[in-house]
């Protein structure tokens, strides 16, 4: 292997690692706040990418129907309970977000010819369709089980993952799609050819990490999420509801997932089930961080990206095996260095 190949593999590894890092952060966030191991994370990577691809192909993405369908379900359940506790203003709010919003987005897509929209607007609408699915899934699947054990929540996650993969096949078919790159520029950096989209991925990931850092360190709602992760009872006593924190963390996680998908769609062909493997690699990163440390999880995920890219050169048939085998020494090391913490505080 000469230097040029090494640089190329390194670039590839960092680009993929940046996406894994985003997903790892989202997984750590969701786990810390809700104790949910968010396996369906990867499906939203695929949904984000394929929704954008549908726009560009001039089709109405199936995710829109999912958004409207889940919106109807959430609106029905939540207005019923708001009606029972006699809170008319809450009904208005529930209907507005879960019924009116999806229909408005749907109308804009159906009658607005998204194929001709500028890329930025297409991206915005792809996010607008996919991201609200996060809080809706939290409301429908996890909120009734908020007090359940980590294992039960994990089983629910597996079920949702299965359901969403199936829906992905139904919505987008078995063929993969690519989207138009954000920029066609490419640069010569010494011996290395850097393409514009790779730079986009790395820059957007870095920017998003900074935004997340500022959100958690500086804003009230960011601090409220951290507080819920640290001490749920304490947070509830401050009026930070577990439901609000859960929905907010799912919103962020799905947002990160969908955006990751949109970022990689121009450089890899995304299929309906591509997300799962990408999500799992983010998960390996999150495991390196013990599902608790954000910086270690991000660093672990970049390491996964590099390991994957170099092993695809030396032993391409075994690249997934090598990446996932990395979990074993990490787990051994973690179980030797950390003392066991009881699940229920």
């Amino acid at each position: 292997m000469d230097l040029q190949i090494a640089l190329l593999l390194g670039q590839d590894g960092i680009v993929n690692g940046a996406v894994y890092a985003l997903l790892a952060l989202a997984l750590v966030l969701v786990f810390a706040v809700t104790r949910v191991i968010f396996i369906p994370q990867g499906e939203f990577v695929a949904f984000g990418a394929l929704t954008l691809a549908s726009f560009q192909a001039g089709k109405t993405p199936g995710t829109l129907w999912l958004l409207i369908g889940m919106g109807v379900a959430v609106a029905a359940i939540d207005s019923f309970s708001a009606w029972q506790s006699r809170r008319p203003r809450r009904i208005l709010q529930v209907v507005g977000w879960n019924l009116a919003y999806p229909l408005l987005v749907g109308a804009a897509i159906r009658y607005g010819a998204p194929q001709e929209w500028p890329l930025a607007l297409q991206v915005l609408f792809a996010m607008a369709v996919v991201v609200p699915l996060g809080p809706m899934i939290y409301r429908l699947a996890y909120q009734p089980l908020a007090e359940a054990s980590v294992l039960v929540l994990l089983i629910v996650s597996v079920a949702i993952h299965m359901a969403l993969v199936g829906l992905g096949l139904l919505f987008f078919g078995a063929e993969g799609s690519r989207t138009t790159p954000f920029s066609d520029a490419s640069f010569q950096l010494g011996d290395l050819m850097v393409n514009g989209q790779s730079l986009w991925v790395v820059a957007a990931s870095a920017a998003l990490i900074v935004v997340l850092y500022v959100f958690f360190e500086r804003t009230l709602y960011g601090k409220a999420l951290r507080a819920t992760a640290i001490n749920r009872t304490g947070a509830r006593l401050m009026g930070i509801s577990t439901t609000m924190a859960g929905k907010l963390s799912f919103l962020l996680a799905v947002g990160i997932g969908a955006l990751s998908g949109i970022l990689i769609a121009p450089i890899t062909t995304v299929y309906y089930d591509t997300g799962f493997l990408i999500g799992l690699k983010g998960f390996v990163g999150a495991i390196v961080g013990g599902m608790a440390s954000y910086p270690v999880a991000a660093a672990g995920a970049v390491l996964v990206g590099l390991l994957e890219s170099f092993s695809s050169f030396w032993a391409s048939a075994f690249k997934e095996v090598i990446v996932f085998t990395m979990i074993i020494p990490v787990l051994v090391w973690r179980s030797l260095t950390t003392h066991h913490v009881e699940e229920d505080e």
């Binding site: 009230l220 409220a224 951290r226 947070a235 509801s241």
Partner: protein, 244 residues
């Protein structure tokens, strides 16, 4: 009599088949310090948990500020002006003292108030030690400082009713005195206090009215001066010598 700020009547709470509270009725009036004393396991913490909505109750009603709370929710109690300082403090250990206090004003911020800096300065004036340690992580504080932070955090929500669960637990006598002194001073600012304590002597000294809770039932109640002189209270909770 004035309209009570908190009116709990006939409250029953069960853990599975075990009934922890049995037809408990208590009242707290504005500007009053009311204490609930009793031995370990009498249901004192359960009472506060049920009033605050942390635990469901099987029967009875809780009226806060004149409105009956059906299916009490913690968030709604906080929004209405109740603040609980739990027995375990439940601080945000990895966050700074200042962030802990800031989160105490979370509900007020959500409701559109923007006075948390002002309130924070008042809390620092009440607990100068917290002001000195504002940048420090809550987990590095001493026991007394943690209790001060827990009380300060509850005060950040500008509660109309402060519920204190065993504030003296595990603290040195000098700190206990300081905390009780501050609780007594709160009364002058118009905050009503429901104080649950094992340290009956200290509690009755600052309280206006007291209840004795034994095995989930109110065994005795009365103005705290009367309770301090009651032979049963003296024997069981104050020890020899009573208050003199």
């Amino acid at each position: 009599m004035e309209q009570p700020i908190l009116d709990v009547s006939d409250l029953c709470v069960s853990y599975g088949k075990v009934e922890a509270l049995h037809h408990v009725s208590i009242k707290v009036c504005p500007g009053q310090i009311v204490t609930v004393i009793g031995p370990n396991g009498a249901g004192k913490t359960t009472l506060l948990g049920a009033v605050m909505g942390l635990l469901p109750h099987t029967r009875g009603r809780v009226e806060f500020l004149g409105t009956a709370q059906r299916d009490i929710e913690v968030e709604r109690m906080v929004a209405a002006g109740a603040g609980l300082v739990p027995e375990k403090r439940e601080l945000f250990g990895e966050m700074s003292v200042e962030d802990n206090l800031l989160l105490g004003a979370f509900m007020r911020r959500r409701m559109g108030f923007r006075d948390e800096r002002e309130t924070m300065e008042q809390v620092y004036a009440t607990f100068p030690r917290l002001g000195e340690r504002r940048g420090q992580r809550a987990s590095t504080l001493s026991g007394g400082e943690r209790q001060m932070l827990a009380v300060g955090r509850a005060l950040m929500g500008k509660p109309k009713l402060l519920l204190l669960d065993e504030p003296s637990l595990g603290l040195a006598p000098l700190i206990v005195r300081e905390i009780f002194h501050i609780v007594a001073a709160l009364k002058k600012t118009g905050v009503a206090v429901l104080l649950v304590e094992q340290n009956a002597r200290a509690a009755l000294q600052i309280a206006d009215y007291g209840y004795v809770l034994e095995t989930g039932e109110i065994a005795l109640e009365g103005p705290s001066d009367d309770l301090e002189d009651d032979p049963r209270v003296i024997e069981s909770y104050l020890g020899l010598g009573g208050k003199h």
